[in-house]
């Protein structure tokens, strides 16, 4: 079953990268278990971040991204306060 543009669930229940077949998660309970994570200042998102977030808030703001461990395809991107855990997730009942 294809999850999105980058991930699929194999017959064994593992979560695989559709681009390189790397195992991203061993099961749908932990779908991004092996993914790489990296935070950078939000300005790394490019010109879309029009002004330094420090103008508007005391909290540091980061570009948080998750990558395929095999081909380094970008699986998720979010710009969030650095001191906040990621709330974005999914869990399939399959």
């Amino acid at each position: 079953m294809q999850i999105d543009d980058n991930l699929e669930i194999s017959d064994t229940g593992a979560v695989l990268c559709v681009h390189c077949a790397a195992r991203v998660g061993d099961s749908v309970e932990r779908p991004l278990q092996h993914a790489l994570r990296h935070d950078r200042p939000s300005c790394a998102a490019g010109a879309g971040v029009r002004a330094d977030p420090a103008r508007f808030t005391q909290r540091p703001i980061v570009l948080r991204q998750i990558f395929c461990p095999g081909c380094l395809t970008l699986l998720e991107s979010e710009i969030v306060p650095a001191d906040e855990r990621s709330y974005r997730s999914w869990l399939l009942a399959v």
């Binding site: 999105d4 490019g46 879309g48 029009r50 991204q65 906040e84 399939l92």
Partner: protein, 662 residues
């Protein structure tokens, strides 16, 4: 003063009430029309479709009536209004293709009216009720004023019609009722729970005076009030004709079947999707002027069999400010996404659709606030952010289905960048208006195509922006430009639609300038996230340039096209601010685009080149985000692109470059 609950205010806090509860509560006090299951089953398919389409057309006619009669550009040119037909118990049968946030909670207003006004002052033929209490329903904030009209047939309450428009000013501390310094609802326009504004076909002038007295532009508000009464009159006339032609039982049976049909078809669609839970978060920066917090709405959406459960546990507590929304606002954040993404092939009958939906939310949170929390910005504050979180979760769920994934759209225009102008217009009269240019937000990317550039908002399918010339005619302003903005669509394999900007000066303003209220979150944290690796759309960005050279440039025959050309003192504005825009000042407002879908390094280089050619993407972003390199003649250099993309893959993941990539 801190937020302290007002004893007794709970009775205004509507909660969904079923038809059987309504009937039980009313008893013999008010006779409600009813039909049996056999009546509903007995309608033949042809009659059903004819009446169903006629009902849909009536909502269109209501919209046309509002546009023809209103004098507000917000209504006539931007379509910020709603039109709904409801059954006798207040269930929404059909909503028009206008502001679906507004339509989401009009059912609660009708039900509250049934439960609280049927005894005194009573509900009778020819009556209409006015309501702008966001806790009761009918709108998200006090500017959303609903006129509800019961329709009687043979002595029984047969149905309701409802028209709601955004009113440009209903009092409160700040013009436009956008009290950016406010800490609670008492800074804002006073909410009015349902009051009988029309009795037996005659306007209640005492009630009208009470309503209009609060506004800075009472004549305009009076005109809009008549537009809503007129829209209801037209709807009731057309419904009556329908009843005369087909009979009350048949028309009501169709209304009931529309809702059950929508319910069943949504259940079938949900059943075809895998079960699971999808979580999202939506941020807003700043709750009021001068405040720098970041507030979150947290959503875990669970789809099980044929039901959807929206659980907002973990959402921040209500805040001293004006960004909160009531439970009705929360529903207004859910329904527009369910309609556009899940019900694009299903009748827009919220009364049936809500039967598939469960909501968990703690009272006292920013999207389920209690009285007297400030809600003046609710529609484009916590309701909008709720919509963003719902959009993300529904989008992820739809991505799983080979067919339904085509209906998925990433988050659209993450916030409403409010520009509110007030003062004296070029004709010497008072004016207040919300500039609706940010209605041209970028739509989110989809699984197989880019988002539509400046395509609109998913909560107002028929939303549009006024022509520049209309705004200049109506208000004392002169545009320097209104245009799409480069690099505002979220990068991705499929790019989010770009947003836009407007830049203008006061013009022909008798007082020399105008009053300006600015209100937009999304400046620290962009609010239209991407999906499947796609980047968020750009942040909102507003700049006020004091003592600019715009007039000198225009006098010399040059039309400025960039802030840098305007000299003066540019000031990047915080999310919320109230100030004056003086004769020599320039205001630049820049709203958000849509989120991207997929990894931008997987975007076809040729598409990036086209984007650069059309000023959708800058050459800088083409290289840094999309990894596309061009040769000296501006043609994509395939070899250099491959190499650069390989390098970017490691760099952005925080990995050391290999010797070949350095």
């Amino acid at each position: 003063m801190p937020l302290i609950n007002v004893a007794g205010s709970e009775r205004f806090a509507s909660q969904p009430t079923s038809e059987s509860q309504i009937r039980a509560a009313l008893g013999e006090r008010l006779r409600l029309h009813s039909v049996s299951d056999d009546d509903i089953a007995g309608v033949d398919a042809l009659t059903y479709e004819v009446i169903r389409h006629r009902l849909a057309m009536i909502t269109e006619e209501m919209g046309d009536a509002l546009k023809r009669m209103s004098g507000s550009v917000v209504v006539t040119d931007a379509n910020d209004f709603g039109a709904t037909i409801l059954d006798e118990s207040g269930e929404s049968v059909l909503v028009g293709l206008y502001n679906t946030q507004l339509a989401a909670s009009v059912d609660n207003a009708a039900k509250w009216t049934l439960l609280n006004r049927s005894n005194k002052p009573g509900i009778a033929p020819g009556d209409m009720f006015l309501c702008n209490d966001p806790w009761v329903g009918g709108g998200m904030h006090q500017n959303d004023v609903t006129v509800l009209a019961p329709l009687f047939h043979d002595g029984e309450l047969f149905a309701w019609t409802a028209a709601v428009c955004h009113q440009v000013d209903l009092g409160g501390v700040s013009p436009g009722s956008w009290s950016v310094n406010g800490t609670d609802v008492f800074w804002e326009s006073t909410p009015v729970p349902p009051v009988k504004i029309v009795e037996g076909g005659e306007m209640r002038v005492d009630i009208e005076d009470m309503y209009l007295r609060r506004s800075r532009v009472p004549k305009l508000i009076a005109l809009d009030l008549r537009a809503k009464i007129g829209a209801n009159n037209i709807a009731q006339e057309l419904l009556t004709r329908l009843v005369e032609k087909y009979g009350a039982t048949t028309v009501k049976a169709v209304m009931k079947r529309i809702m059950s049909d929508a319910e069943q078809r949504l259940r079938d669609k949900l059943k075809s999707l895998p079960d699971g839970t999808w979580s999202a978060i939506a941020h807003q920066d700043s709750a009021r002027s001068g405040e720098q917090g970041i507030y979150k709405i947290v959503l875990a959406m669970t789809k099980k069999a044929d039901r959807l459960h929206f659980d907002f546990t973990g959402t921040d507590p209500q805040v001293e400010g004006f960004i909160n929304c009531t439970y009705n606002g929360l529903r207004g954040g859910i329904m527009p996404i369910v309609l556009t993404m899940l019900c694009n092939d299903i009748p827009w009958a919220p009364g049936g659709i809500y039967r598939c939906i469960d909501i968990t939310s703690e009272p006292g949170t920013i999207n389920n606030c209690t009285f007297p929390a400030g809600v003046g910005k609710a529609s484009v504050g916590s309701t909008w952010s709720t919509m963003n979180a719902v959009s993300e979760c529904v989008g992820k769920m739809l991505s799983l289905h080979p067919e339904h994934r085509k209906s998925m759209m990433c988050v659209c225009c993450g916030s409403w960048d409010l520009t509110l102008l007030a003062g004296v217009d070029q004709r010497g009269g008072p004016f207040v208006t919300m500039l609706c240019d940010s209605m041209a937000g970028g739509l989110g990317a989809r699984v197989d195509q880019d988002g539509v550039d400046t395509g609109g908002l998913n909560c107002i399918p028929m939303g549009r922006i006024a022509d520049v010339e209309i705004n200049e005619f109506a208000f004392p302003m002169l545009y320097l430009w209104r245009r799409e903005e480069i690099d505002t669509g979220g990068p991705g394999r499929y790019r989010g639609g770009v947003g836009g900007s407007s830049c203008f000066i006061p013009h022909d303003a008798p007082l020399g300038g105008v009053h300006l209220v600015v209100s937009s979150p999304g400046k620290a944290v962009p609010m239209a996230p991407g999906l499947s690796g796609g980047y968020p759309a750009a942040t909102a960005h507003d700049v006020l340039i004091r003592n600019a050279s715009a007039r000198a440039l225009l006098a010399s025959g040059r039309i400025p096209s960039a802030i840098e050309q305007l000299a003066g003192s540019p000031d990047v504005l915080p999310p919320h601010l109230e100030t004056n825009l003086a004769d020599a000042d320039v205001y630049y407002t820049h709203w958000q685009g849509g989120g991207g879908y997929g990894d931008p390094l997987l975007r076809e280089p040729g598409k990036v080149a086209l984007d650069v050619g059309k000023n959708k993407v800058s050459p800088h972003a083409a290289g840094d985000i999309y990894g596309v390199m061009f040769d000296a003649s501006g043609v994509v250099d395939v070899g250099a692109t491959d190499k650069h993309r390989q390098q970017l893959r490691r760099e952005r993941a925080g990995l050391a470059l290999t010797s070949n990539e350095e």
